[in-house]
């Protein structure tokens, strides 16, 4: 069976519609699964329409590639820990980037063999290759930093940004030469330099900033797909590319707003490494007051008969995998008639929506989980706020201390609860390296220990205690 170009175009349109509905499904958890199926259907239709379109004539390599890809992808998806999602995502981005480069080069070779090259095509190819290559090497670095293969420390040297700028200019130069004179060497040099640029752009960024970078690279991978669509005159690639491009861009934007930093600051800033200079001011004064530490029993005392407990999970909960223990604890509290709410800050954890996925993994119903703006007014009426491995997102310095690097970042109003208990292992600061003024408040005590252990102890205390 072979379908005409027009049938193919209509199939592509249907598949574009399905992709849009797939994303629209994510409007609510209830419709999200159906959305994912729409996405799968769209992909299937698109692939079939391409295979049947008459342009594809040999299937051996394709079958091999898809089979191997299905196997690898399936295993990755089944095995990955929810806490390792950022790495997986980075790895997948790098694949899209590399695929874009490979497709562009192969398209060039095909057109060269058929003698159908022209300047516009070569210009479009260059755009695809450069964006793809940057996406690839950038994502590889991001993956390495997140996985701990490469040190998370920002690698910095003088004139870094100037070098990158220079490199970009040189790349454009080679691209122009390639587009105008069909010079193969220019193509090769351009590609290599683009890989290098991706590497240099991401290496100076601290490991902790990787979530924003990953979203940025997600956006790039979308634009790379769109650029490929222009080269291949394939409208479906253009549509999907734009959708993905916006997804990454909007997520980076959301993260930056929630951290009160500009994207430029993330890309050029080298945040969260060495310089913790400005934080002496208010925090320094507060330090002299000392910090109270508490035992599990102290905390239970206030929680077991409370009317409302708000739990604030953070990165530490993810690291310690404490969500299941928290779920047990929540159920025990609810059995005693305590209302339990989980309060999620938009950048708690290390990627957008990170906490939601972990809580969902532990089967915590999403009606119990509230976003920052919805839950903030509730702290004032809560008996206890239990902070589990969260830090920066609870730091009142963001509201009060103008000299703090996180000043202006919207935070959870934890300090308004009657009692605040914070579970963490040490006095070390969180991601931003800023000391947390919350710990010096009268109503706040710290429970030192691993989040999972402490949560299990809390649950046990509630079970065991002969109340």
């Amino acid at each position: 069976m072979e379908i005409s170009a027009n049938t193919q175009a209509i199939a592509y349109l249907i598949s574009a519609i399905l992709f849009i509905f797939a994303l629209k499904g994510l409007t609510s958890p209830a419709s999200a699964r159906t959305g994912n199926y729409y996405g799968m259907a769209g992909m299937l239709i698109a692939v079939l329409a391409t295979l049947l379109g008459g342009d594809v004539q040999s299937y051996g390599f394709i079958i091999a590639g898809v089979a191997a890809g299905a196997l690898i992808g399936g295993v990755l998806a089944a095995r990955v820990q929810m806490t390792a999602m950022p790495q997986l995502v980075a790895a997948l981005h790098s694949f899209v980037g590399m695929a874009a480069v490979l497709v562009a080069v192969a398209t060039y070779l095909n057109h060269a063999a058929l003698g159908t090259l022209n300047s516009l095509l070569m210009a479009e190819l260059s755009v695809g290759i450069v964006i793809g290559a940057i996406t690839f090497s950038g994502s590889v670095i991001a993956f390495g930093k997140l996985q701990g293969i490469i040190s998370g420390q920002p690698v910095k040297f003088k004139g870094q940004h100037l070098l990158n700028l220079l490199l970009a200019v040189v790349i454009i130069g080679f691209a122009v030469d390639f587009a105008m004179h069909e010079t193969l060497t220019s193509l090769i040099i351009m590609t290599i330099l683009a890989f290098l640029l991706g590497f240099l752009l991401i290496i100076p960024i601290g490991g902790a900033d990787m979530p924003v970078i990953i979203s940025m690279l997600n956006s790039y991978s979308g634009w790379a797909a769109a650029a490929t669509g222009f080269t291949l005159q394939n409208n479906l690639l253009i549509i999907v590319g734009a959708l993905v491009g916006f997804s990454g861009a909007i997520l980076s934007y959301i993260m930056c707003v929630a951290m009160n930093r500009s994207i430029l600051h993330v890309v050029f800033g080298g945040f969260g490494g060495d310089d913790a200079a400005a934080e002496v001011s208010a925090a320094g004064q507060a330090a002299e007051k000392g910090v109270k530490s508490a035992s599990v029993e102290d905390a239970i005392y206030w929680m077991e008969d409370a009317s409302k407990v708000i739990i604030v999970p953070g990165y530490g909960m993810a690291v310690a995998q404490a969500q299941h223990a928290l779920k047990d604890f929540m159920e025990l509290l609810e059995e005693r008639g305590v209302e339990v709410v989980f309060a999620i800050h938009p950048v708690a954890g290390r990627m957008p929506g990170h906490m939601n996925v972990l809580l969902a993994e532990a089967d915590i119903p999403y009606d119990n989980v509230k976003e920052m703006n919805d839950v903030n007014p509730e702290f004032a009426t809560a008996d206890v706020a239990l902070v589990v491995g969260a830090n920066d997102v609870t730091n009142p310095a963001a509201k009060t201390d103008k000299s703090s690097p996180i000043y202006g970042m919207p935070i959870l109003d934890v300090e308004k609860a009657q009692h605040v208990y914070v579970i963490k292992r040490s006095m070390r600061p969180g991601y931003s390296g800023v000391e947390n003024l919350l710990y010096y408040q009268d109503n706040c005590s710290l429970i030192f220990g691993d989040a999972k252990d402490v949560c299990e102890n809390l649950a046990n205390a509630l079970k065991g205690g002969a109340h």
Partner: protein, 96 residues
């Protein structure tokens, strides 16, 4: 209209759609969103299929194409399945 202008129209309109559809995603599903966009950006496989399947051109293109098909497939399968896995967690209703 020449193809490049058609492409431009479609690109611009899709950007608007991208803008609205993504802002509509509820924050609690942002992680699945990232995984899903990963999956659908595997659409680059169309380019890979065309590059690999074209008859009578150099072997080099075919080999490049093969790797592109492989990488894109990992994205597609990995992306959709991990999204599925995550969403399955969300879908469990309150038991009580």
């Amino acid at each position: 209209m020449p193809e490049i202008l058609v492409a431009l129209y479609i690109f611009v309109l899709s950007c608007f759609i991208g803008y609205w559809v993504i802002w509509g995603v509820t924050p609690s599903l942002h992680t699945p969103l990232v995984a899903l966009t990963n999956a659908i950006s595997g659409i680059i496989i169309l380019g890979a299929l065309l590059a690999t399947g074209l008859q009578g051109v150099g072997n080099l293109a075919e080999i490049f194409g093969f790797f592109a098909v492989l990488l894109a497939s990992i994205n597609i399968f990995g992306g959709f399945l991990v999204t599925q896995r995550m969403l399955a967690m969300f879908n469990k209703k309150k038991k009580k």
